[in-house]
């Protein structure tokens, strides 16, 4: 049986981020390339943050998914360049994040600047859609998220930071 590249991409859509299980690695935009050669598959991924502890688990899960698809050899390579950015997150992924209660990354960002004491990014509350929110902490439950609170509905929520 011949396994197509398309089938590999479909299988990869079942591999989720262990820290944000609602997002697949396709939604996150971390799969950079897939090559299939008979019973051999090579998947190239890029880490979100260099120290992201989820990367090793993601690599192992990719191998299990593709071995189950019928491959004999699955290689997962990591590349760093070009560096991952939240711009690579799919629109579908952003919608899933919001439905899950995490505010998706804004399009334009200010985190990558050296400017000191800048106002916090305006982030929309994923629960009541108000923009009247404030940042509690630059880091939330993981390095990629900040902790915000909505001043309208008072709910505390994670914001997936621009990167």
């Amino acid at each position: 049986m011949v396994i197509s590249t398309q089938q590999v991409w479909e299988a990869l859509a079942h591999v989720t981020d262990p820290e944000i299980p609602v997002l697949s690695i396709i939604d996150l935009g971390i799969v950079r390339n897939v090559t299939v050669n008979g019973k051999e598959a090579v998947v190239t991924i890029t880490p979100t943050y260099t120290g992201c502890p989820a990367m090793d688990v993601i690599g192992a899960t990719i191998k299990m998914e593709l071995l189950a698809l019928g491959f004999d050899t699955v290689t997962v390579n990591q590349v760093l360049s070009p560096a991952w950015t939240t711009d690579w997150m799919s629109e579908e992924g952003k919608a899933k994040l919001k439905a899950y209660g995490i505010a998706p990354p804004n399009h334009k960002q200010q985190v990558c600047s050296l400017e000191l004491f800048t106002p916090h990014e305006a982030v929309q509350c994923p629960h009541c859609n108000a923009y009247h929110t404030h940042r509690i902490s630059e880091f939330g439950s993981t390095a990629c998220k900040a902790l915000y609170q909505c001043d309208e509905c008072k709910e505390v929520f994670d914001y997936f930071k621009c990167y």
Binding site: P82, A83, V111, L114, L116, A143
Partner: protein, 244 residues
Amino acid sequence: MTHRIKHILHLADNALILGHRNSEWCGHGPVLEQDIALTNISLDLIGQARSFYQHAAILLGEDYNEDKLAYFRDPHEFLNCLMVEQPNEEDWGLTILRQFFVSNYQYHLYQQLQHHPDEQVAAISAKALKEVTYHLRWSSEWVIRLGDGTEESNGRMHNALQQLWPYTTEILTPADYETGFIDFSLLQEQWRQKTTAVLAEATLAIPANETQQTGGKSGNHTVHLNDILAVMQTLPRTHPDAIW
């Protein structure tokens, strides 16, 4: 060992040792948000160290790997600057100032190294730069808040500055394995400019004392590195075949 490999190990060791020092604050930070901020900075640094060790291990070949380079080298084989191994002394101000000095250095260094002829060094540097930009912004803001803060915080920052200043020359002076790849006069200029601006806003005066300590980049360390390695390396050296 070639200059290229030594240079990569130097970059990795700087990131690992500072990451480890910062991680000692985990659960002990003055406020929860800043405890988490510093812990995340540690995670970035250890991630960067890991990337550099992996690359060095490939270049070294044989049976080298990232763990062997981090856990099975002795103090004299580490090539980090003396600055990063200095103890926290349970002083948040000292930790913040050390982070500022190193982030200021790494930020301008990686801007150059992202164009390094070794593609992997360039890729790691470009990736690290995104993270170090945040570290520099965060530490600059805190140096200013604490320096230009209360009498107590200003006094502590003043003491921290006296303590750390003697280690600043080493980070800006090229080792033999660094020459040719980095424009050190540019790096020194950029580092001094940023340092002067932030310290001025923090109402802290640059110490007049010109006595400087060097040696870390060539493997001559302070006793503090032994303490770190004793903690960090005990488990893998006691149980070398242990797997996670």
